[in-house]
């Protein structure tokens, strides 16, 4: 789960990391009030769960409350990489001396936490990584030992830091590591981490991703889940225990198991079609769950045909067939549906389907044939 900048900063502050004073605003009037309260020049920053807002014009600096309100008016409602801006963070100014980069992430291959640090922070950090990889210090941390003092020194020396900045960065790193572990984050990133003329080290931005699997022990963070920005169908699927991701094509796809559904998307694309979604209905043959999944897939107006790819494992093919028929009964979709059933007791399942299927349902034996049929049905006009 991704946190907004203002939420991420709140978490960092709990662990002693310094940030600038800021106030969240959802309207130009609130932004004006925030500016009056903070005084002096402020930054108005779009709150979106994506990167690249600076380049998209989502950050503006203004001094007079009237100008701050105008900046907020321009930013609120803006679309940044498909994310609508609903709130801005109005933040006090600072006299910046240098911009650095600091992050900690879970490294899959090393199975350790990886710290990245650079004195060349800012929006072009990926370019720095590519053109001057030596400018980025990398340190792997064994989670059983935690971050050791020598590792902090190693980082500050390797980066050539001295004096107050070295101390400030070291302290920030210790605090950030604590936030990363205790907050069950898979990523914490501060870009830029700045040093100010008066010797402070501050987090000017915060990107925090919390491991979804850990939310059971972080009720406070789980509550931050922003249902407003989720696609309504994706939200409905989530509540029904389904995995659903909307895509741009016209062939609706359902199946059991993430790997099999991904593979089905690929096979449809190979057959010349365009998948309209990813939908994993999981194991079992619960008619209600399958019916909900069908309704969600069919509610996408772009969908012209549906491919249902099921592999009967522990849940046998005949049970799946009965569940599917019950689901079709409940669902009122008239879309053409191609069903491909394989696995344990698949013959029996196919027989049950063949004897009972409504007109709009076609059965196929292999994934490839099913994909071809679903694509053909789109070309024939679908619904």
């Amino acid at each position: 789960m991704d946190l907004y900048e203002y939420q991420g900063k709140e978490l960092l502050r709990q662990y002693g990391i310094e940030t600038l004073e800021g106030i969240v605003a959802a309207s130009p009037e609130e932004a004006r009030a925030a500016a009056e309260k903070l005084g002096g020049p402020v930054a108005v920053k779009a709150q979106v769960l994506t990167g690249g807002r600076g380049k998209a014009g989502g950050i503006k600096v203004a001094e007079e409350p009237e100008d701050v309100a105008e900046a907020a008016r321009q930013i609120l409602g803006m679309e940044i990489r498909g994310h609508k801006v609903r709130r801005v963070l109005v933040e006090a100014g600072a006299e910046i001396e240098s911009e650095m980069y600091l992050s900690i992430m879970v490294d899959r291959a090393a199975k350790k936490s990886l710290i990245l640090f650079s004195t060349e922070g800012g929006i072009d950090i990926e370019e720095v990584a590519e053109q001057n990889p030596d400018a980025i210090v990398r340190i792997y941390i064994d989670p059983l030992l935690g971050l050791l003092p020598y590792e902090v020194r190693e980082l500050t020396f390797a980066a050539g830091l001295e004096g107050d900045i070295a101390k400030g960065v070291g302290k920030t790193l210790n605090n950030l590591y604590e936030a990363f572990v205790e907050g069950d984050a898979s990523l914490v990133e501060i870009n830029p981490l700045v040093s100010t003329k008066d010797g402070h080290v501050l987090a000017l931005d915060a990107k925090v991703t919390v491991d979804n699997s850990s939310l059971f022990r972080h009720e406070d963070i789980a509550e931050l889940h922003d249902v407003d920005v989720a696609d309504p169908e994706e939200q409905r699927a989530l509540e029904a225990g389904l995995q659903y991701v909307k895509l741009d094509g016209d062939v609706g796809i359902l199946g059991n198991g993430a790997g099999l559904v991904m593979s089905t998307l690929d096979v449809v694309a190979q057959a010349g079609g365009e998948p309209a979604n990813f939908c994993d209905v999981g194991g079992g043959a619960n008619a209600e769950k399958i019916a909900t999944a069908l309704d969600i897939v069919a509610s996408n107006q772009q969908v012209k045909s549906v491919l249902f790819n099921i592999f009967g494992g522990i849940t046998r093919g005949d049970e799946v067939a009965r569940g599917l028929l019950a689901a079709l009964d409940r669902s009122d979709t008239d879309l053409p549906i191609v069903v491909r059933l394989d696995g344990t007791n698949a013959d029996e399942g196919r027989r049950i389907l063949a004897e009972n299927t409504p007109e709009n349902v076609y059965t196929e034996q292999t994934m490839l044939d099913a994909a071809k049929k679903a694509v053909e049905l789109v070309q024939d006009g679908g619904r």
Partner: protein, 292 residues
């Protein structure tokens, strides 16, 4: 021969009295797996389907000589169950549980480095050596014994591919579902090494998907170290690109996590890569015919 589980497997089920534990214990018993013990704290002294239940792994191992464990305990307690299994000498541990926090798994994975044990999973379907031992939640009926090893990050996709093989009369030595989580106990390479050392395994099917770079690392190993032929399949070419916050991921991995990048690395290493599950069956058939 087979890898990880076989006739010598003496299994303990951790979380045997829970809903999942009970259901799959029944199925594993039906496929003649030697289940010697179950563990559920507070339920010691009971039995389930004739399997004695103990309070702790220590007791279970002392009383029954178990050497392998399978874990069905809830995600919040899974890491603890794995540590307990490791501390009482389990050689192979399959953690079926889904949703184990990634920080828990990082601690487990680093503890594993100092232990002489193999952890499969979490969030995996387990391991099956057809007709020998079933330490899994996989549907046994689709498997037949034979000489093809399977290693996979996915569940149902594995069943699909196994089914393709079985329908062609091609049996399996062992099928290992290593799990799809970001941090897992055992990656492709360690399983490939075991298959390479297994005289019974004549060909290996490796099933990957988007995310991480485990397939690339495996490709390098196959090219440099393996004599057993490998057939690969990668799912997720049309998967939407995950939205990523921040730059850290890009700095570390570049574009390595896409299906395209993985499949290119595999092909470059000379590994036959199928474009769909049926083609896996065809490629394996070709290899086995060519060899015999």
């Amino acid at each position: 021969m087979a890898i990880l589980v076989d006739d010598e497997t003496r299994l303990v089920v951790q979380g045997i009295t829970g809903h999942e534990g009970r259901f799959h214990t029944g199925r594993m018993l039906e496929s003649n797996t030697q289940i010697v013990a179950g563990v559920t704290p507070g339920r010691g002294g009971q039995d389930y389907e004739g399997v004695p239940v103990f309070n702790t792994m220590e007791e279970a191992v002392e009383e029954t000589g178990a050497n392998t464990s399978v874990i069905f305990v809830p995600a919040a307690f899974s890491a603890d169950a794995i540590f307990e299994a490791l501390d009482f000498g389990m050689q192979t541990i399959c953690c079926i549980t889904e949703g184990v926090p990634v920080h828990d798994m990082m601690r487990v994975a680093n503890y594993l480095r100092v232990k002489d044990a193999t952890l499969i999973g979490p969030n995996c379907p387990g391991v099956i050596s057809p007709d020998k031992s079933n330490v899994s939640i996989m549907p046994v009926d689709i498997f037949i014994p034979g000489n093809v090893g399977i290693v996979s990050r996915s569940g149902t996709l594995t069943y699909q591919i196994v089914n393709e093989l079985t329908q062609r009369g091609i049996g399996q030595s062992t099928a290992v579902g290593i799990g799809g989580d970001p941090i897992i106990g055992t990656d492709f390479i360690e399983i490939l090494k075991k298959f390479e050392a297994d005289p019974e395994t004549e060909c290996v099917v490796m099933i990957g998907e988007i995310g991480g770079n485990a397939e690339q690392l495996a490709a390098e190993y196959v090219q440099n170290e393996m004599r057993t032929p490998v057939v690969a399949y990668i799912a997720g070419f049309t998967a939407p690109e995950g939205k990523t916050m921040g730059h850290a991921g890009a700095i570390v991995s570049g574009g390595e996590s896409t299906a395209q990048a993985k499949s290119e690395a595999l092909e470059k290493a000379g590994i036959g890569t199928a474009t769909n599950p049926s083609e896996v069956g065809e490629l394996v058939t070709e290899i086995l015919n060519h060899d015999s």
